[in-house]
Symmetry: C2
Subunit: 294 residues, 2 copies
DNA sequence: TAATCATCATAACCTCCTGTTATTGGGTAT
DNA sequence: ATACCCAATAACAGGAGGTTATGATGATTA
């Protein structure tokens, strides 16, 4: 197997017809070039150049392979341009995993900014449940997930915080009597509660709150999507456990946060990515845009 | 400038989607491949693979450059075939410098043998004066010269003897009285002499003979071509100085060798090639055929 | 569920490839 | 005649690119 670097030297020598000049172009010494050309000829088991006192000339066979080498090198040089297109964000695709809620309540506004700044980058959105998004992430299908951080961190993943939000119990005006008063956790037991299904960060968090405050309420409903959950709160089906971020735009209309003491926990959300993998430049820029235009 | 060997490794890894398998294919260790891929990604300043627990996958950018790499490597692999065609003598050209006399009297019979054995090799014959042929040789225009060896060897050239011949004085039947008797050099002074022009090996040799034997005969004619010289001998214009090789086929018809004591010198003829240059395989085979079918 | 296998990353180390400088020998140009 | 240009060679140095050993983690299998 021929070392491909030899062909690069071959090419320059063939072009300049002069080993000394080629060595200058290649930024190596003349004996180095002489040696490498000899090596190539030895390994191909045929002379390629005719040595004269004025320089070197390709022989017939050398001339033939020169065409191939030239084409090959051109193709390999093109790679620089391809890379450039990607690193300068002239092209590329970002594959993001994100829940519909976070999408609507957090990412949407940033997306447009990014798109305006880098109009050639395609953004693919994957909106499976977070658990599935993490699987997709680990299988290389998506570049990163934007999501709430779990209680226990996965050793294989990187967590880059973008913001915090607090879990809150939210009710609609059916429960207007709870407005403007402070409740204790125990008080919740009198009301129907709506929680997200297992497995989810939200449900884990709620259970954590129950345990901490020695209460245990069987939820009236278990709902997969936090989106849908909010709809049920709006309809007055019960008091729901969601993040403030998801409801803040709709508060004071027909929904309010139940004032509890102690309050449910605050959590972080942000970029979740693979530890072993380096971000592409477009992903880096995307994250940058999100962070700068907070 | 990216080391081209990295692309070979890149290619195999991309194909196998598995660094370990790629390392086996490449006959190097797995950490070596890991390191080289990392190096390539660093130098291109962009990730190319997504690492998963099952192996690695090309990312978008990697996929793009893969096409270029694949094409480039295909082109470079083709080189093996091109070289093979040349080393196996399926194609190629041999450029020989040779005098018309040597061509007719020596090489012609070998040429056909070579052509029968290697019908795809083109033989280009250059028939300038030997001096010019040597210049062409040094300028890389011809592969080798078949010619008489000079008295002093050029340090830059290789001399490979193919045969010997002797210089002789030849006369036609106009000088029938010289037939079957032995002459001394001094006796030649009574007859018109035809020599080859300067500069030529033949003339040098004649002068050498004169000096050695203390004679000095102004030639009746100076002729550039030995071919023509023989024609003049045939016509009886004088006694000519040529090699036995050039006249042996025509002796005993209307020409004979003048029996001199001491005889003119014996000389060698053969392949003259550039010391610094390796013979192509076709040239080697050509010389082989000449030597084996003596 | 435990054990084994597969995969990639890292560290420490070593070898030989690929460079270096110095020099020779010859041709070319002024 | 002199200075320059070009390729080949020798002796040597440094680091690229390999090695083995090991670790961490997920996938697979008994």
């Amino acid at each position: 197997m021929i070392n491909l670097e030899l062909y690069r030297i071959f090419y320059v020598v063939a072009e300049t017809k002069n080993i000394t000049k080629a060595s200058e172009k290649l930024c190596i010494s003349q004996p180095a070039v002489t040696k490498q050309i000899k090596k190539l000829e030895n390994e191909l088991n045929t002379p390629l150049f005719i040595r004269t006192k004025r320089g070197v000339i390709l022989n017939e066979c050398g001339e033939k392979i020169f065409n191939n080498v030239k084409q090959a090198l051109t193709l390999l040089e093109e790679i620089d341009n391809i890379i450039n297109d990607y690193t300068k964000l002239n092209t590329g695709t970002i594959k993001i995993g994100i829940s519909t809620s976070l999408m609507k309540k957090y990412l949407l506004k940033h997306l447009e900014k990014f798109h305006n700044k880098y109009p050639n980058i395609i953004v693919d959105i994957y909106t499976d449940p977070t658990k599935d998004l993490i699987t997709k992430l680990k299988n290389g299908i998506i570049d990163f997930v934007i999501g709430k951080f779990p209680i226990t961190f996965d050793k294989e993943l990187n967590y880059h915080e973008l913001g915090k939000t607090r879990y809150v119990f939210v009710a609609n005006n059916n429960y207007f009597n709870l407005k403007n008063i402070q409740l204790k956790p125990k008080d919740l037991e009198k009301y129907p509660i709506i929680l997200q299904e297992y497995p989810s960060n939200s449900r884990n968090s709620a259970e954590k709150y129950y345990e901490k405050n020695n209460i245990n309420i069987e939820p009236r409903m278990n709902i997969a999507s936090s989106n849908l959950l909010i709809d049920f709160i709006k309809l007055g089906y019960g008091i729901g456990y969601v993040t403030e971020l998801y409801v803040k735009d709709e508060l004071n209309k027909d929904m309010f946060i139940v004032n509890l003491n102690p309050k449910p926990e605050e959590i972080s959300f942000g970029i979740i990515s693979l530890k072993n993998n380096v971000m592409t430049n477009s992903c880096k820029k995307f994250i940058e845009v999100i962070k700068n235009n907070n």
